[in-house]
Amino acid sequence: MTKNEQTEEKLNEFFKTHKTEIPDNGFSLKVMRRLPTEKDHSWIVWLIGAAGISFLLYFYIHNGILLNFIENLLVMHFDTLLISIAVFPIVCGIVMLLWGKKEKTFFG
């Protein structure tokens, strides 16, 4: 047996003899009780969204814009219609991507 192997064996023995299993004794329960309760604030986003849509609908109906839009829908160019429909998901996608990058921490 080389000197290096002897050292390894000795150190392994030294640490293993002092390795003890610590009984839980209510530790896990204590941790679970101390965990922060995550508050869900997503309702604020939904509330603002619903209020915004309601306001726009009222505004469009009151000023006849919605009716005008429906009438023009039939004569509208297909590409204009596609762009107007695609703008919202594109903007939302970019916002979510930026939000996701901000959320990443050094723990990963």
Partner: protein, 184 residues
């Protein structure tokens, strides 16, 4: 065995993050409470109360940040990394932290806790090493971590871990030979 264990961890993490099942997180706490508390117990030279506080902080940080766990490493390595950061953050907040103070504090801890002579021998031996050397040796010999995993935990190059390991081993062997450990 280790692969199975990691698969269990991933299963519980998925259950917790996707279904919000707190019992799955409790299983992770139950599985890792002993190694994490032992890790702190050895680094604090046997201060059970401080170790438990640090271990609680570690699990709370894991709970809050679990969405950032990307499974690039084992959950165990990720958890030890949090524990390592928690320990060194707590050390940094202690003002006027010098080697002399550490020894005084350690002696106080030792007198406060009922230790066996064997445990005292173990902590006395560790006290001859720098904190980084203690950390590397404990992780390697007691917690069975590879040098690559230790480098991830300590967020340093593998070469640095090798250096700490070599220096720590030499110092510890010198101490053990001087104390006649092999004759005991």
């Amino acid at each position: 065995m280790s692969r199975m264990s990691n698969r269990d961890d991933l299963h519980w993490i998925t259950q917790f993050t996707l279904l919000g099942d707190n019992k799955a997180f409790e299983k992770l706490v139950g599985k890792y409470q002993s190694p994490i508390r032992r890790f702190f117990l050895n680094l604090t030279m046997g201060d059970a109360s401080l170790s438990d506080d640090l271990a609680q902080e570690t699990f709370i940080k894991a709970f809050v940040n679990i969405h950032s766990f990307q499974a690039l490493s084992n959950f165990s390595t990720w958890l030890y990394r949090i524990a390592y950061n928690v320990f060194y953050d707590s050390m940094r907040t202690q003002k006027q932290f010098s080697e002399l103070d550490v020894r005084e504090i350690d002696l106080q801890y030792q007198s406060d806790n009922a230790f066996s002579a064997e445990k005292l021998d173990f902590y006395n031996a560790l006290q001859h090493l720098k904190k980084e050397e203690q950390t590397v040796l404990i992780l390697h010999y007691m917690e069975d971590k590879t040098q690559k995993e230790i480098a991830k935990i300590m967020n340093c190059p593998e070469g640095t871990v090798k250096t700490y390991l070599l220096k720590g081993k030499n110092k510890l062997m010198d101490y053990l030979n001087k104390e006649g450990y092999d004759k005991k």
